[in-house]
Symmetry: C2
Subunit: 187 residues, 2 copies
Amino acid sequence: MKYPNSQKTYEKIGNHDTSRRGMSLEYDINLSSQYYLEREMANIHKKPTPITIVNVEYPSRNKAKITEAYFKVPSTTDYNGIYKGRYVDFEAKECRSKTSFPFSSIHPHQIKHLRSVCKHGAIAFIIIRMVHYDVDYLIDFNEFDEFYKTTKRRSLPYEWIKEKGHPIKVKLMIPCDYLKTIDEVYF
Amino acid sequence: MKYPNSQKTYEKIGNHDTSRRGMSLEYDINLSSQYYLEREMANIHKKPTPITIVNVEYPSRNKAKITEAYFKVPSTTDYNGIYKGRYVDFEAKECRSKTSFPFSSIHPHQIKHLRSVCKHGAIAFIIIRMVHYDVDYLIDFNEFDEFYKTTKRRSLPYEWIKEKGHPIKVKLMIPCDYLKTIDEVYF
């Protein structure tokens, strides 16, 4: 009898005003950031994927075609920007497990980066989408790091995420309304 | 008798403790940012070049090879990060003209972006390297924008740059010591 049960949990935790259409977390965050940008609420962008370009061809005079390139390991997080005068920095990850978020999902470079920006006064967090429950959580990086540095586990238990994380609501045109959650947690 | 004359100007304006080896402005800024990062002085990075990936091949199981991709027009600036709790955002351009910096060097999207981050409280500027004089200037974006919005010219005159810009010094291991100039201008 799993299905009706998780449906109930979904509705209870999710606080959805509207349903997401099963798009990726990245897509939903970009759409939300775009909404904020157009209304001058914040200026937050996803960074381009870092790649190493090996070869470029010029089939016509003004069109460069990259014919050989490789993905690089990112040295920072994917998202940053400014909100209410504060520097904001975060990483976003989908989690398909029902029970925990594996630390291996976040690269050590990114942990180091988030620690560094925290020291300089950033608002820093991780957005974790628990895919099975269809809920996004904002996890303050300092909270995360406290657990990460002291635990012997290799993952963040779902129970911990529910307790320490801040659920992010879904609104019409804002599929991942993280700015509202930032307001609640940091302002 | 151009040569001895410009040499003199170079030494007078540049305040060089050491000479740069003719590397690109991007290279010099990245080296300086790396220096700041390692000493926990600031956390500022160049964003990866935005590209549109069309095709990816998998010649071996864990190595993805991008075989077709194109450069995208950037919608933000190249550099951002955090310094002393403040969000910092800038674009950097080399200028080969001796007399002026053409506005066409900066994309309208980037001007719009810098206006937006200013509204949210950012430290925002443009670094212009006057290649002929071998001097880098920090131009506060609000100063730039005031001129840009009111002039009928299509470029920033070198005289204006010298008057309103803040020369960035060269230090040992910091080929473009922009953090020191930020201190002078914004703190």
